[in-house]
């Protein structure tokens, strides 16, 4: 019975999701569905205060942990869920998407993310990630009459299933070598039985890393992101960009610092390769984009690289830098996608941002803020987070990688600020964009506040970013 306490946030989300499915036929208004999601997210986040941090514990036969680490990510996923629901209000009405089903899928996907962050067992981890991604497939394709959505959903499904299979195969190999799926038992087996150099295990580690790299859209497992972000509606893209990445990062951080901690050397090599490739490919390919969501997709690939920088050195400080990065990235990318949502159809293409500062100065200023944060210019949260991850790479002795990361930042300044150039330095074309719902404004305000506060007080999250 006490085991259930660990799962309270997940249970809250599932309960609301099931309730929404039951009454789906009667929920016609998007506002009501979105409001219930926000309430559920708030309840899930608040419920975390009921179990004390100083007493981390595991339940369900040692497969699910209720620790500070899980709590940090649970709060992140709850916030992501609430903001995504707020962004969705207009989209649901305009695209005639059934609101209750859509919101139930958001809730279930978030449940999966939370489960992935709490899992201390490879199979539970797999379950959580699968729950997340299966719901995501449907969310991406939920506008059934839009061809581009269907295409995106199909691509996501095919590549996603392949990545899941890779992950599962890796889990199988690790189990085969160590005889355990439990993180602690794997680590124990590796050190006690001296299996660290077992070739089968190395293949297993690489496959698990590959499967998780797909979730965070790290190169070379990134191919899905641009198409899926472009095809999905903007709120769904925002939900995936922030949530799927954070869930993947949550899993990678926990696995690399517990189960595969004895495999530090090989894991570092894999992470260096993933990070360097993501940084370079993401930054360079983003330059050529003319679609805002594709640009944000390549940016999200590059940011996967920055986030992984924190893990390379294998220190606790680096792990918490990566956690901070996931948190900050979620809010700034939600903010940027939020502006895309607010501008409607016009926000999809870069050309739609022409002269935005002249017609809607506040929206333009918000977008500028999020872009500065994504570039990593102080005093925004993006700078503080980038500083922390690059610092941990420097401390680990990876100075060349740090230089590569800052060079990629210069490249990224070019494409992020090109949007600022369009907004501020070109003449407006056509009419001003229409007004957008209060829900979207509220969510944008939250994202903006976190983006600024995180930059002015870089240490604000330190008490929360407890590595596993």
């Amino acid at each position: 019975m006490t085991d259930l306490l660990i799962l309270v946030p997940e249970l809250v989300l599932v309960a609301v999701a099931l309730a929404l499915i039951l009454v789906a036929r009667h929920v016609r208004r998007a506002q009501i569905a979105a409001a219930s999601v926000v309430v559920a997210a708030a309840a899930a986040a608040l419920s975390l205060w009921f179990f004390p941090l100083d007493n981390p514990r595991t339940g369900f036969g040692g497969t699910i942990a209720g620790d500070g680490y899980a709590r940090f990510f649970n709060i992140l996923f709850a916030a992501n869920l609430a903001l995504a629901a707020l962004f969705s209000v207009r989209h649901l009405e305009e695209e005639h998407v059934p609101p209750a089903e859509y919101c139930a899928l958001l809730l279930l996907a978030s449940t999966g993310m939370m489960l992935a962050a709490s899992a201390v067992d490879l199979l539970i981890l797999y379950l959580g990630l699968e729950l997340m991604i299966v719901c995501s497939y449907i969310l991406v394709g939920i506008t059934r009459d839009r061809l581009i959505s269907n295409e995106a959903a199909l691509k996501y499904f095919l590549l996603g299933s392949f990545a899941s299979a890779v992950l599962l195969y890796g889990i199988g190999l690790v189990y085969g070598v160590t005889g355990a799926t439990d993180f602690a038992a794997i680590a124990r087996g590796l050190t006690e039985r001296n299996l660290a150099r077992d070739p089968l295990l190395l293949v297993g580690v690489a496959l698990v890393a590959g499967g998780l790299a797909f979730k965070i859209a790290a190169v070379p497992f990134h191919a899905w992101a641009p198409d899926v972000y472009q095809g999905a509606s903007a709120p769904v893209a925002a939900f995936l960009a922030a949530g799927s990445k954070a869930a993947g990062i949550a899993a990678v951080v926990r696995i690399s610092s517990t189960a595969f901690a004895p495999e530090r050397a090989i894991l570092s090599d894999i992470l260096v390769a993933l990070a360097a490739l993501s940084l370079v490919v993401g930054s360079l390919l983003a330059i050529a984009q003319s679609n805002m969501k594709r640009l944000l997709a390549y940016s999200s690939i590059a940011h996967a690289g920055y986030a992984l920088l924190g893990l390379i050195s294998g220190t606790a400080e680096g792990a918490s830098a990566t956690m901070t990065y996931a948190f900050v990235y979620a809010f700034m990318t939600l903010g940027a996608f939020g502006v895309v949502v607010a501008l409607g159809q016009r926000g999809e293409e870069l050309e739609g941002y022409r002269g935005l500062a002249y017609t809607s100065p506040v929206t333009a200023a918000l977008m500028f803020l999020f872009l500065l944060s994504l570039t990593g210019i102080p005093p925004t949260a993006g700078f503080a987070a980038k500083f922390a991850v690059i610092l941990s790479a420097v401390r680990g002795g990876y100075v060349v990688l740090a230089v590569l990361a800052v060079i990629c930042s210069v490249v990224s300044a070019f494409f992020y600020l090109r949007v600022a150039v369009l907004m501020y330095m070109t003449e407006p074309e056509g009419s001003a964009p229409g007004r957008f719902p209060v829900a979207v404004s509220a969510a944008l305000a939250v994202a903006a506040v976190v983006t600024i506060a995180g930059g002015v007080f870089p240490d604000a999250l330190t008490a929360w970013t407890v590595p596993p």
Binding site: E317, A357, F383, V403, L417, Y424, M425, P458
Partner: protein
């Protein structure tokens, strides 16, 4: 009086003003900006009055824990080196509002807000006592400049803004990696703590750090091979942007060298002394020759900045008292003179809409007041005794002769070329016969513009006749800086 933290107040007053601008309508924006900058100027007055010139210690120190996990405090304080720059920043802040009064017509709220954010970044940079805070203000400065050039600039503004942005970011992000390595190696980012650290960092580490930091500083100064962004940014920027660029932004690089490269990396400074001196001499002479060839007034002044800033870096790397004091004085002088020259060019451009030198001529007949002011600033720029630049150039040149005579020769050559291009400019613009294209235009400046130029003319005269008004502040701090650099020589000898 001592209960309020003066540095924090004057740093963040403009930022508060930048937010207040958005609360009112567009017509009030310039008034709010003027009030804010005047208030900031007034609030900075106690700093000069109460500053103890006989001490080299940091004064008006504030220190609040900020980011414990990186051992970073929010630290503010000034010494004799930073105080003149703070004075320059608050003065130029006011003048920028004055010169933009009628010139800026689009997105006025955004313009004045951007200007005020830039002022916060300038003051904060000179008041910061640790590297992290310094870096935050350093980067904060890039964004307003990018916007000032790109939004309110001339026809080639977007390209110029991007060029500026990419150059400065490339430099400053390398500096960021250096900063992290420094933090990792020493555990602190406090300027004083770093300068007094014993044992010092190893020479090879210092050398790498010197390269990384110089990349950031050299772009801003700008030193010879990385100067190419400057003419474009200067030419395309609106007048206020050019004034900030010339007046403050270029000084950030020199200030960084004084505050970081010399005291924290003294051994590396000595290691790289000859190449840095050679680059400085090259900038002086090369910059002067390129200036001679210009046909665009703004471009001409921009290239002259490269030459003049060459004097500054030359003075810094002489590593003797005369050179260092001259370099700091000359940075202030250059801020005043070049700022004023850009103001002059901007004022006449608003009336003629041309920057081509050939379109001018005979201004003394149609704009006598303007011509008089322009004359003062041109004489000052040429280094005529009695005006401010003479003292700075004299100190630097004598410092240069003392270290390496060939440097002194290069500096003298640069002075001669400087007089040539500036007097030739004055001849072509103000003397000669009246250009037929200027007939029928009301060219002379109004009272507001006189009020904008007069303070700078007065400063040029005061600093020329009584340089002690700045040098008096510097003496102790420069002495400490020299001690830090030469102490390293003693250590190096022992090793």
């Amino acid at each position: 009086m001592t209960t309020y933290p003066p540095l924090t107040v004057i740093t963040f007053l403009p930022l508060a003003g930048a937010a207040v601008v958005f609360l009112f309508n567009e017509r009030l924006a310039r008034w709010i900006a003027l009030a804010t900058t005047l208030l900031t100027l007034a609030a900075s007055v106690p700093l000069y009055l109460r500053f103890d010139r006989t001490s080299s210690a940091l004064q008006f120190v504030e220190s609040v824990p900020w980011i414990p996990s990186w051992n970073v405090v929010y630290g503010m304080g000034v010494d004799g080196i930073s105080l003149p720059f703070i004075f320059l920043s608050v003065v130029i802040g006011v003048l920028c509002v004055g010169v933009s009064w009628a010139a800026v017509r689009v997105l006025r709220r955004e313009f004045y807000s951007t200007l005020l954010v830039a002022e916060t970044a300038m003051i904060g940079l000179f008041a910061a006592t640790n590297f992290f805070l310094f870096y935050v203000f350093w980067e904060l400065m890039v964004v307003p400049m990018f916007l000032l050039v790109g939004v309110w600039g001339g026809t080639g503004r977007v390209a110029a803004a991007f060029k500026f942005l990419l150059f400065t970011l490339a430099g400053s992000l390398l500096m960021l990696v250096g900063l992290m390595v420094l933090l990792h190696a020493s555990g602190t980012l406090d300027f004083q703590g770093l300068a007094q650290m014993r044992p010092r960092l190893s020479l090879s580490l210092q050398a790498w750090l010197f390269v990384a930091f110089s990349a950031g500083f050299a772009v801003k100064v700008p030193m010879f091979p990385v100067h190419t962004w400057l003419p474009d940014a200067h030419t395309e920027a609106p007048t206020a942007g050019s004034v900030i660029l010339a007046g403050i932004l270029l000084k950030m690089g020199g200030y960084g060298l004084l505050r970081i490269a010399l005291p924290i990396l003294p051994d590396a400074t000595r290691l790289f002394l000859t190449p840095m001196l050679a680059l400085s001499a090259l900038a002086i002479v090369y910059g002067a020759y390129v200036t001679l060839a210009q046909t665009d007034v703004k471009r001409l002044i921009a290239y002259s900045s490269i030459s003049h800033m060459g004097f500054v870096t030359l003075g810094i790397f002489t590593l003797n008292r005369s050179g260092l004091e001259g370099a700091i004085l000359q940075m202030v002088n250059h801020g005043i003179i070049t700022g004023a020259l850009f103001l002059c060019v901007g004022m006449i451009y608003e009336r003629t809409h041309t920057r081509n030198i050939e379109d001018y001529g005979g201004l003394f007949k149609v704009a006598p007041v303007y011509s008089s002011f322009f004359a003062i600033f041109c004489l000052a720029a040429a280094g005529v005794p009695g005006l401010n630049s003479f003292v700075g150039e004299f100190l630097i040149t004598s410092g240069a002769f003392r270290t390496r005579p060939w440097l002194g020769a290069a500096a003298i050559w640069g002075v001669a070329l400087g007089a040539t291009y500036i007097f030739w400019l004055y001849y072509r613009v103000v003397l000669r016969d009246v250009n037929p294209g200027l007939r029928g235009l009301r060219l002379d400046i109004n009272v507001r513009e006189v009020a904008t130029l007069a303070p700078l003319a007065a400063l040029a005269l005061v600093l020329g006749l009584y340089p002690e008004s700045v040098l008096g502040f510097l003496r102790e701090s420069v002495g400490q800086l020299l001690a830090a650099v030469s102490a390293s020589a003693a250590v190096a000898v022992k090793l």
